[in-house]
Symmetry: C2
Subunit: 340 residues, 2 copies
């Protein structure tokens, strides 16, 4: 069992260390839309009954329409994390036996749970710097697009070429589009039906601001989705999550995109005014590079603002979106008070 990874969202621990009530902290440590959509009504039956196939199918049809996945009906999963943890098992086919010298490539640095899942299962993981370094020796490759935390993007055609290289060598390509909702042109979803060895993961909660819901989707060929579904077991996704997906994924999301763009621009302006160098990001977070990142992190904690730091890149800080102009000012004032 490898050590758990510290993710964003640890406001309770931060408040215990630096004081203040958790609810008074400004949490910029995650990449979640800070202005959640209004919750549509959830019918009482979605709470009461085991999620029926009908509700499950409604969510799948809505997801197909939203993600544009053509003939593929995306599979609802209880958070992308749940299927990340099943990837090693997918490589062992229907056995639970993984005794292998197979190598896994993860374009890095990126979301740490991929390397953790494969390492715990006994695979050798190569943290490669770019897709060009992925070769025939890799049985599975992971690309997060856009990447977390640096926001790097890989064009669709480059990933299709990678898929074809992987396929020729009998390998699988996983493309995690968790931060992909704000830039649909980057998504491989529309091409998935032609790409048999591709698995796409989508996150529901980040874009809609409903991360507590635990909902994601997998898009892949039918037998891969059937295996995920079988391993997750019946009723893996809650009724309220399926119900919200069925309505929100059919709604007009242009106002959400607009709000995220506006919030992202405000965040970048605040960071730039404070003299911070923007290293990358997506509409849902901005990455800053600064040699005094660790001191800035602590300084912000003293102002009860939590951002994300990284063990593997001590000069990086990731800032999630601020919810409103008041929070922009609060962040700006705290940053202005940092003595360089």
């Amino acid at each position: 069992m490898s050590a758990p990874i510290v993710h964003g969202g640890g406001i309770t621990a931060a408040a215990a260390a630096f004081g203040g009530r958790p609810e008074d902290w400004l949490d910029l440590s995650t990449g979640i839309n800070p202005c959640p959509v209004a919750l549509p009504d959830i019918p009482p039956g979605a709470w009461h009954r085991l999620p029926d196939r009908h509700l499950f199918d409604e969510a799948r049809f809505a997801a197909r329409s939203h993600y544009g996945s053509g003939e593929i009906l995306p599979l609802p999963v209880p958070g992308t994390q749940s299927v990340i943890q099943l990837l090693p098992r997918l490589l062992s086919q229907d056995r639970q036996v993984v005794v292998t010298d197979d190598r896994i490539a993860v374009v890095s640095p990126t979301y740490g749970e991929y390397a953790r899942a494969f390492t715990s299962a006994g695979f050798a993981v190569d943290a490669v710097g770019d897709v060009a370094e992925i070769g025939g020796e890799h049985r599975l490759a992971v690309v997060v697009n856009p990447n977390n935390p640096d926001g790097r993007v890989w064009p669709v055609e480059m990933l299709i070429a990678l898929h074809d290289r992987m396929t020729a060598a009998g390998g699988l390509l996983v493309v995690d589009e968790a931060f992909g909702d704000t830039d649909p042109a980057l998504s491989l979803a529309a091409r998935a039906q032609e790409l048999p060895n591709l698995i796409i993961f989508r996150s529901f909660g980040k874009f809609f601001g409903l991360a507590g819901l635990r909902l994601g989707f997998a898009i892949a060929r039918e037998d891969i989705l059937a295996r995920f579904e079988n391993w997750l077991g019946p009723w893996a996704v809650s009724g309220p999550a399926l119900s919200l997906a069925a309505s929100l994924l059919r709604s007009d999301v242009s106002a959400i995109r607009h709000s995220l763009d506006e919030r992202s621009a405000a965040l970048q302006a605040t960071l730039a005014s404070a003299g911070l160098r923007i290293r990358g990001g997506t509409a849902l977070f901005t990455l800053v590079a600064d040699s005094r990142a660790s001191d800035i992190y602590t300084h912000l904690c003293r102002h009860h603002i939590l951002v994300r730091k990284f063990d593997y890149a001590l000069d990086w800080l990731r800032f999630g979106l601020t919810p409103d102009p008041a929070a922009d000012r609060r962040l700006g004032e705290a940053l202005q008070g940092f003595e360089r």
Copy 2:
């Protein structure tokens, strides 16, 4: 991959076969409280944020108080099903390797997902008729107490003796108390801290009538729970589920118990009036034995009432609770119309 098991809750399929709108059917095919508790308020943050450790801990403390598990803090899981599927992996320790001649005992007939999980993982499963048949050759034994669907119960002392036999031979005992909330005296929860090789599963949704929520708890020694938690990964349980657990598991549940007893008595009276022989049950369902069970099943479907039949016991029908006296009358009239 073994074939999926048909569980209750398939109203959509039944309505497609026998007509009527799914919402007009009387669904007696599950063992879920038909009178769900009023939903307490869910704070917006439970939907919006990734479930924080603080919320997770609140649910654990509330569960400890409700289940009476002493020093053990029950682990929230996204439905008991999620941990049933991890049991094979528990036997393989930290490897994902299961290459074994170990035998598993499941006191049967019972909830089918145990046998399915172990069989898919390559274990040999002995369906034993009673706990007395479980021996030293069994590396893990499963007892559902009270049992589904026949309502058989095993006294605490008998299960503790079984635990001690299993422990002496290096085995584990799983006691599934999914239907245990209505009879707390049957629970092993209060003894769990003295029983190192015991794993208890509890279901949240059946008793509270919130099966769509996907929430259960595991009670076991700390290293077993830590392994489950690691394998489920971060944020396995949704924020709304943790929030509802934290408040409902601290509430006075005597009114729920009273309502279930009243509904159960009404169901049994309805079944007895129709001349059906009651074979067993719990406060959440009643099992009937009748040589014409299959015809009664079809007859009820024609009246848009769905009950549960069993491949392995063709003379059994399981009736879930009716929600109110009107439903009792509807069921009674449909049964009276059955021509023997």
